[in-house]
Amino acid sequence: MKNVLLKLKAMPVNRYIDVIILIYLLLYPAFHSVYWAYIMSGIMAYMIFALSLDLLWGYTGLMSMGHGVFFGAGGYMIGIACARINQAEWVRYKKLPWFLSLLGNDQGAFLMALLVPGLIALFLGIFMFTGKIQGIFFSLITLALSGIAELFVINASKYTHGDSGITIVSRTVLSNNSKQSLPDFQYYFIVFGFLLAVYLLCLGISRSRTGKVLQAIRENEPRLVFFGYNPSRFKIFIMVLSGIIAGLAGVLYVRVQGSINYTSVGINLSTFVLVWIAVGGRGNLTGAMLGTLLLQIAETKLSSLFSNLSADFVQYWKLILGIIILLTVFLIPKGIVGTILDVRQKHQDHRRKERILAKEGGGEHEG
């Protein structure tokens, strides 16, 4: 019993925040309308997306500016499957091509929605990390990739319906062809379940030796090599995992929205998710979740508030979002959670230092 308490006390503060967030989300539908349950389902899908990027950026130091590619790849698999099965009027192919043939059935489509982002990530990972692409180069290349992906998706209109996008069977876990959509509230809990599972997975990874190696890569990759590690393997691994999780987030998101279009793979989403994580604080999972939650709620509330006041005001809300981001950068550069952890760490360091000094000096000089 005492042991458990001690363990709890030793738990980093941010894990308490995680628990609070998760409980809040669990209870959320009880106090909110269908609309907000729907909005929050989308936000939770984004939270999963942010978690996937936090593994890559926060822990491993690989700032992907094109993470939407994976998100969108997952979403588009479901989209193509739905369009095909529901015979959307624009579908101009008789038969699914061999590489998409799995999309013909529901489980296959779900599998593909995870597999395709995973494979893209694998390919990109191998391509980039066996070369020496690092730091800002990685970021800018991924930025270009999301640009390419956007062009590609619009251009491959035979499968993607070009810039118009695809309507999707919404709020089902697997089904692509029926009208068995779940009510918003029920689907909410499915997304919540996935969020919980992804959170636990990420937590497990981050605390494992693999997670530590990833952090070491972020800190000083050249040095790590001299301990016999092959950093590119680890980077490819986390890239693939992150890609798959992002793909899952994409699936959940399009199921909430009921449609997908090129913006899901594009630069916009990819940069916004960076902002969410940065505001929350990266490299601790909590920040990714909290940042996404707060900013998305703020965005929805603000834009709705402004448009209620007067339509002309609507144009100001992005201005305000910009100012919020700027303030974050200034006041809490490590993000909300990063700052909390920092304060806590400083405090602990201070106490430890005093203890060490007391032990060493036997009370010669105290500050």
Partner: protein, 289 residues
């Protein structure tokens, strides 16, 4: 595909290379030297274009004066941003990304509110077309080529042949130490950043006549300018020149054979592949830990 077409494509590709170079140069300074991921860059192009519109079309000043005005106003604007915001963020790349993202969002919104949504048109300051056999060049584009070369030469001279240039290079490499040597690095930083922004504004003004001016003008330059600078090796103006040529010539020629979408996709892939095999960019001296 006729010879003249290929020639024509190559020539217009070459002109566009220099236009891309012109629009990227400010970024070389700010991203390459200062390690600030400056997402304001493309917004600065947009503002430069607006400055051009208001000085050239509304006030009717001579075009060169307008370019100068664009440089100066952008320089001043850069100084303000640097002083207020960027100067606190050196060495923290992802924070610069975030901050400049926020600034660019604010700028774009402000431009929308201040200048309105409608298109503004800047007419061509030079109306001549030059014809060589079947091949033609717009006079204005030729002027842009000259401008790009001049700006590049001036910047190279500034960086490598003047003391302020040396201070700039030193400051961007090791700020604390340079200050310990008695150099006012805050001032140097401000000048460097502002010069980069000034170049962006100048470029924005120079490209204003090529299309209509709107608050979203910067968007279409984002990928190309950043990728260009990356491929060039971030700190190398010469590398950026070469990569501009590679990018624009490829786009021109490939879109000649197929279409523009394919060309754009292929060229971006090509850039990525080049960067993969030349991760430090085309021209960058290797350092030692």
């Amino acid at each position: 595909m006729s010879i003249t077409l290929i020639l024509q494509l190559m020539i217009s590709g070459l002109c566009n290379s220099f236009i891309l170079l012109l629009t990227s140069m400010g970024l070389v300074i700010i991203l390459g030297y200062m390690k600030v991921v400056n997402l304001v860059h493309t917004e600065m192009l947009m503002l430069g274009a607006y400055i051009c519109y208001y000085t050239y079309e509304v006030l009717g000043l001579p075009f060169l004066v307008c370019l100068l005005a664009a440089y100066l106003i952008s320089f001043a604007f850069g100084a303000v941003i640097e002083r207020l915001i960027i100067c606190h963020l050196y060495g923290k790349m992802s924070e610069t990304l975030l901050a400049t993202f926020a600034i660019s969002m604010i700028l774009k919104q402000t431009a929308l509110l201040a200048f309105g949504k409608s298109y503004k048109k800047v007419s061509y300051p030079i109306h001549k077309e030059l014809h060589f056999g079947g091949v033609f060049i717009e006079g204005y584009k030729l002027a842009l080529v000259v401008l790009a070369i001049a700006v590049m030469a001036a910047t190279l001279l500034l960086l490598h042949k003047t003391t302020i240039g040396m201070k700039m290079r030193a400051t961007t490499q090791n700020r604390a130490m340079t200050e310990c040597l008695g150099i006012d690095t805050r001032k140097v930083d401000t000048i460097t950043f502002s010069h980069g922004m000034g170049l962006a504004g100048l470029a924005g003004a120079a490209i204003a006549p090529l299309s209509a001016v709107t608050y979203s003008l910067g968007d279409s330059w984002l990928t190309n300018t950043f990728m260009n600078v990356v491929m060039g090796g971030v700190t190398s103006l010469f590398g950026t020149l070469v990569s501009s040529v590679i990018i624009q010539e490829s786009i021109a020629v490939i879109s000649g054979f197929s279409n523009s979408v394919t060309a754009q996709i292929i060229v971006l892939m090509l850039v990525i592949i080049i960067v993969r095999f030349k991760p430090e960019g085309l021209f960058t001296a290797k350092g030692r830990r």
